[in-house]
Subunit: 225 residues, 2 copies
DNA sequence: ACCTGAACACCGTTCAAGT
DNA sequence: ACCTGAACACCGTTCAAGT
């Protein structure tokens, strides 16, 4: 079999498998990522992958691990609040590059070394800032997934506006009766978004609003000690 | 609630399907819930279910819907903060009865009428408390999943202590080098938990700490207007 | 109107067999 | 040591056929 027609076959490695999985999830979504398709992507049978990863859970753990490694440590100086804020917003940047990542992180139950290292560094920032062990512990709970740069957004704001404007207008009448407050809020949002190019900016505003509210609250807790 | 295979066969209804699905998830976990198994549970072929639910997504939507309906509206009077706090802690109670519910909620993208009604009532509490539309909107983002009574706990506290005490002690030495802050925190927690019966109480403490920190922050935002 | 059998197009994973 | 073919035990979903 001549190999000239195809690219010279690199040997499979764990890293190459993870990179291919991430690239595929980036372009097709995680829900489309199966062992068979990943094998296909690498020019290999699905079963070969098991020589480099234990199983699909291990694959997903590894993918998340790579993303967390991508979080850059901003060279910020200052108090704990400034440093932590920069670190979390940096994590958010890494997450935004991989839209599937937050959904997968939520399903992880195994701590990976990279994840441990990240959490350890966050706790370190707090401890050096004067947080007691207990307060640092509570902070981890308060931040939750926000520590990694994503929030548990229950539903998308824009969902209600997905229908065509004419249909939306009719639905609005019905909605206004049953859900007056949501309707009121949705209309306000749709006004706002008309005046902005894109919605990414808005999301950042909401994320920072929540983050700062929490950081301010923590600062008060710290001062109270 | 689930009919045994020998009982006289009740006609299948959407509600009976949802109740059976919830009961099965309660006892076996959602990951074990398949259309085939649910059919089995109801003494029926899996394909019959499609006469009452559109597909599995619809099944999960319906299950969540039932849980949200189970959230009791506490008859609390007072300011927005007291009322909202009671409502969220009541939501937490409903969620605790169904350990799988929060994981499923996180994957929902379709708003159901019951979900809309719940969110509308929360926004209503805020608006009556003097929140502007914008601040009410931000509040939804700040609360995120906490509005429904659960937090995005990234990893379980107790995980590090799952191994046997002897092995844990050896691991601790290695861990202390690589992850000093996590180790310090984990040891503090293990001390605390030794003095308490069960951990459910502790989880409530963390939940309330975070909730109160957020509510206090919102109160300050409100006063600033 | 509701339920079923058979079938389709997938999954993750194993294991003996090949190179 | 790594890769493959075949197979196992599952999935969700469809559709024509039965009652």
């Amino acid at each position: 079999m001549t190999a000239t027609a195809h690219a010279p076959r690199l040997p499979l490695t764990r890293d190459r498998v993870l990179q291919a999985a991430i690239a595929y999830a980036d372009k097709a979504g995680v829900e489309a990522l199966s062992m068979r398709r990943l094998g296909q992507e690498l020019g290999v049978e699905a079963m070969s992958l098991y020589n480099h990863i234990a199983n699909k859970e291990d694959l997903l753990d590894g993918m998340v691990d790579v993303i967390v490694q991508e979080i850059e440590e901003p060279a910020s100086t200052g108090d704990w609040k400034t440093i932590l804020r920069a670190r979390i917003l940096s994590a958010r940047q890494a997450l935004l590059r991989h839209p599937w990542a937050s959904a997968v992180m939520v399903t992880r139950t195994n701590m990976t070394p990279t994840m441990m290292r990240y959490m350890d560094s966050v706790i370190g920032i707090l401890r050096r800032g004067g947080f007691s062990i207990d307060l640092a512990h509570h902070t981890i709970h308060v931040l939750g997934s926000r520590m990694l740069g994503f929030a548990q957004e229950l539903y998308d704001d824009t969902e209600a506006l997905e229908a065509s404007p004419e249909i939306a207008a009719i639905m609005l009448k019905q909605m206004a009766d049953e859900y007056p407050h949501i309707t009121e809020l949705a209309m306000e949002i749709s006004h706002d978004e008309g005046s902005i190019v894109g919605t990414g900016c808005d999301d950042l505003f909401e994320f920072e609003f929540a983050l700062d509210l929490i950081l301010d609250g923590l600062e008060r807790s710290l001062e109270r000690t």
